[in-house]
Symmetry: none
Subunit: 420 residues, 2 copies
């Protein structure tokens, strides 16, 4: 059996709302092991909705509709589907009672419009809506075709899905095997370069391996269908181990790990602390580090030295060096890092100084040029230079700068080499 998701609503076509219902259902179907190959959005228009139903019946056996179950005249999903299959609607007295009861509870009168919500195709079963007035249906209008309908309100749909649809689908035998995934995360290598290194793995069929990239991070997702987590792990683990070995130092963590959480764990393991000195990121590195609950165990704080006066007066950057090399330089990055390390008394000090743009770039120092300084527990200091690309946005340059800083610290804590 394959499923298909059909979301009905002109407001989606107008871009007024984000279609998060599709994502929710997609993830749920994947977990239950029910394949689905298409998602469709169509407006509140009976002719077009019927065309979609015709197409979907030909390529799937489970059609899941969301939206168009409300009381207003533009809510047409149930009657349109019934019409398509040539089945009359009948009023369900239990639904009428339920709606009236809910209105009474809220101290309101049920309106005539709401009676429409109690009309269901003859032969269909009501899919109860515990929180709202619009119930869905479970219906087999013909052999080997099942229809489930849900209201568009996400909170109502989620609960109906979990409380009624999931048990129903499991009763049909679904969910005996589920998709399990293990995501490997990488920093410091591009998607295409990593893909080249691990190319043969993309041909595996069980588990499968697929690459993703966003915001400078690359991920490999290793997935399999299995009857239990343990069974999945047996298939996934050896492949994940090989990928990690091939990728080497660019692999930093798995699943919900982030650069900040991994650095945090390494610092906790080493019983060490870090502080930050930030110029172009303006506090963004500290913000990412403190996004992790419990970061107070290893993060002492930092200095946002946006103006040069803060670099000299608070961090002790030498005025003459600042004048000679400029704020965006190896020397100033190093002095910022050692400055904040000694001011705050942390084991590590890490600094960022760069040109985030869109203005302020020159031929010699273009937008995207960033220096990251690292003052180490032994008192030594290093710095690393990055050209993040002048065509990139201010936002992205700042984000990448903070991530590279975290990655430098990660590699240092793990005793790995660093590419500047």
């Amino acid at each position: 059996m394959t499923a298909e998701i059909i979301c009905v609503g002109t407001e989606i076509l107008l871009g007024e709302i984000l279609n998060s219902n599709s994502q929710y259902l997609a993830r749920e179907l994947a977990e239950l092991g029910i394949p689905h190959y298409y998602q469709t959005v169509v407006g509140d228009n009976p002719t077009r909705l019927k065309e979609i139903v015709a197409i979907a019946c030909d390529r799937a056996e489970l059609l899941i509709f969301t939206g168009g179950l409300g009381p207003t005249p533009d809510d047409l999903t149930t009657e349109t589907i019934a019409e398509f299959f040539g089945v009359p609607l009948v009023e369900d007295p239990n639904v009428i009672e339920d709606i009236a009861h809910k209105f009474a509870q809220r101290g309101r009168e049920m309106s005539a419009n709401n009676r429409k919500q109690a009309l269901i195709p003859q032969g269909a079963t009501v899919l109860p809506n515990p929180t709202g007035t619009a119930p869905g249906i479970i219906w087999q209008p013909r052999p080997n075709l099942t229809i489930l309908t849900f209201p568009g309100v996400p909170s109502e749909m989620y609960r109906m899905w979990q409380e009624t649809a999931v048990p129903y689908l499991k009763s049909l035998g679904w969910g005996k095997t589920m998709i399990y995934s293990h995501t490997l995360r990488f920093w410091g290598i591009g998607e295409s370069a990593l893909a080249e290194k691990v190319a043969p793995f993309f041909h595996l069929t069980n588990p499968t391996v697929a690459p993703y990239a966003s915001g400078g991070e690359v991920r490999l997702r290793v997935s399999t269908r299995a009857a239990s987590q343990a069974e999945a792990q047996e298939l996934i683990q050896p492949v994940a181990a090989q990928l990690i070995e091939i990728a080497g130092a660019d692999y930093f963590g798995a699943n919900t790990d982030t650069l900040a959480s991994v650095v945090g764990q390494l610092l906790k393991d080493a019983n060490q602390t870090v502080s930050v000195a930030e110029s172009c990121t303006g506090g963004g590195l500290g913000s990412i580090l403190t996004n992790i609950p419990g970061s107070s165990e290893y993060f002492l704080g930092g200095v946002i030295s946006y103006h040069n006066s803060v670099k000299t007066a608070v961090l002790g950057v030498t005025e003459s060096k600042l004048a000679e090399f400029g704020a965006v330089s190896e020397t100033v990055a190093q002095q910022m890092a050692t400055g904040v390390r000694s001011l705050l008394g942390s084991n590590w000090g890490i600094s960022i100084t760069g040109i985030a743009g869109p203005d302020g770039g020159t031929e010699a120092k273009p937008v995207g040029l960033v220096y990251i300084g690292l003052a180490k527990p032994d008192g030594n200091v290093e710095s690393f230079k990055y050209q993040l690309g002048k065509e990139r946005s201010r936002d992205l340059i700042r984000h990448l700068s903070a991530c590279y800083a975290l990655d430098i610290l990660r590699r240092s804590l793990e005793g790995l080499g660093i590419r500047g």
Copy 2:
């Protein structure tokens, strides 16, 4: 002409990513006045993608594809479309050059995989991608059918849409009347409270007024369809002026204004500077302030005093007060604000200390309790207490804290009262 949006990517079918590209394109099409009746999602599968193309060609004249333009083997959109129309792919030397140039700028080698991104159907025009390596195409494979392709990465897609696709569609005659909107932005009032104050406006038909809320901010969108910006303004302006008057001090700006940009402009106008002392936000306030290009004119920097030792040693918070009242207190917030103001020599000093959770809350000081200190140009200091709600996430509490701090500074600079 009607359009159709087709998003390609197995990761959408697996529910791994939210299909925000569809919403973006839907809104843009609505603004240009181009009708579209269907959106489809299909996986990285050539057979099924071809079936979708066949269906879409029959019901629309403009097909907009996103996703599947990357360098990896599962990125198949371009070659599948070309195959469907029986047109060979040719390598575009300019694209090869552009990709190589981008890799060189980042100090990396272009991989063999990336050459694939330069293959475009014979007869198609390249739709340039200024920020990424995957260009799209503009192609008329047959009369009365236009295909536009975009990468799935939202930031790349948005820019390509605005810079190339919109001018192209306008050159075809679209967008003669457009939807013009003016968005009013509010901080310090809830959506339902504001909605109640301006309720009669929601019945207007031209312009229309609609409320939205997210992340603590409330917006009212005033929209109309018109042939020109000037014509739209004539309808929108009087309504916007009335709404602003009704809302009073909670209105802070319009359209692309943010609390940080408004505060920045007010500081520039007053020729004043600000510095920050951050505890629970860990640099987030500085990060938001420096998100604004040119913020170096008024933002000097700050101290991230996450650990109490930084509060005392760097900001001069009194040890005895810290012991007596605790780090999350009116007194410490005030001392942090005055401390950073005098350390950095700014006109204003603003501080945040609070309990972001999920742990660390007590009966007396629950998660969500935040104090914001404001040291003023005249040397006086105030503090404001907020209960942001212990059911809220760490992320949201930190975000709201930074926004309230900005709003306090905004109101102070505008000479308005502040609600703690």
